[in-house]
């Protein structure tokens, strides 16, 4: 039976999840954000690293530093989650896919939370 089906007939009705365009857009919007934030943070760190603990804390705890870092962590983990999701969907199917997608989502979320809490702690401790 399947032998007589055209490739088109084989896939009709199996459907896409319907989130493709949104996924694509968010991957690109976060990429744009990262394009600005990564060089900004890289340069700041280069300068701050050399001056030791106190200087780094002052930068991370500053209004500008904390906002930049919070934005970077948010854009980065959102971008990472979407990117890893696509790779997992390319190589895994069935239960393995479902489990790995969950690990990806929870992992990115927990790492983001730890990053945000750490930045806020430095911000509020001054």
């Amino acid at each position: 039976m399947a032998r007589y089906q055209t490739p088109r007939a084989k896939i009709t009705g199996l459907g896409a999840a319907g989130h493709g365009a949104h996924h694509y857009l968010v991957q690109r919007v976060t990429a744009l954000a990262l394009l600005v934030l990564v060089p900004l943070v890289l340069l700041s760190f280069l300068a701050a690293f050399s001056s030791g603990y106190e200087a780094v804390r002052i930068w991370v705890g500053s209004l500008f530093g904390s906002i930049t870092l919070l934005a970077l962590m948010s854009a980065m983990f959102w971008h990472l989650r979407l990117g890893v999701q696509v790779a997992l969907e390319d190589y895994f199917g069935g239960t393995a896919r479902m489990l790995l997608l969950l690990v990806n989502t929870f992992g990115c979320f927990v790492l983001w939370l730890i990053a945000v809490l750490s930045i806020l702690r430095v911000f509020f401790e001054g």
């Binding site: 744009l32 990262l34 280069l46 603990y53 990472l80 890893v84 895994f92």
Partner: protein, 140 residues
């Protein structure tokens, strides 16, 4: 992998039917560096947590980063970051409808590789000679 594959939709053609070419190498590298950066994000989070935890924890973290294995990891991380960043720009330009013809795509492939190396070496040169990124830890 395939044992649990139960998605009946056809897969896209995979490496078995493609001749190696430079744009393909960069496509694979974009995915590979994306994963490397994912692993690197773990490092960033641990570093932030150490900074928040206190001076002792931070000093310990910086000692680890300043060790030779630590520096090697940071070097690889920065190289992956610059490659992915530059190649990401290439994707964004393509999405805007430019530069997708064969000649341009081949040329920008090499540009991305060269500039990624240049930026990485530039960052480390600046780090070592302008900022002494690992102060007082050179003796380790």
């Amino acid at each position: 992998m395939s044992s649990s594959w139960n998605d009946p939709r056809p897969m896209s053609p995979f490496t078995s039917i493609w001749r190696w070419h430079i744009t393909m190498v960069l496509s694979i590298l974009h995915r590979a560096t994306g994963m490397v950066l994912g692993a690197g994000s773990l490092l960033i989070v641990v570093w932030l947590a150490a900074l928040a935890a206190g001076e002792k924890q931070y000093a310990h973290m910086m000692d680890l980063l300043a060790s030779w294995p630590g520096r090697a990891i940071l070097f690889g991380f920065s190289l992956a970051l610059f490659f992915h960043l530059l190649n990401g720009v290439r994707y964004l330009v393509w999405d805007s409808g430019h530069g997708f013809d064969k000649q341009t795509a081949n040329r920008t492939s090499w540009m991305v590789l060269v500039f990624a190396l240049v930026l990485t070496l530039g960052l480390w040169t600046a780090g070592y000679w302008m900022f002494e990124v690992f102060p007082g830890q050179k003796s380790h």
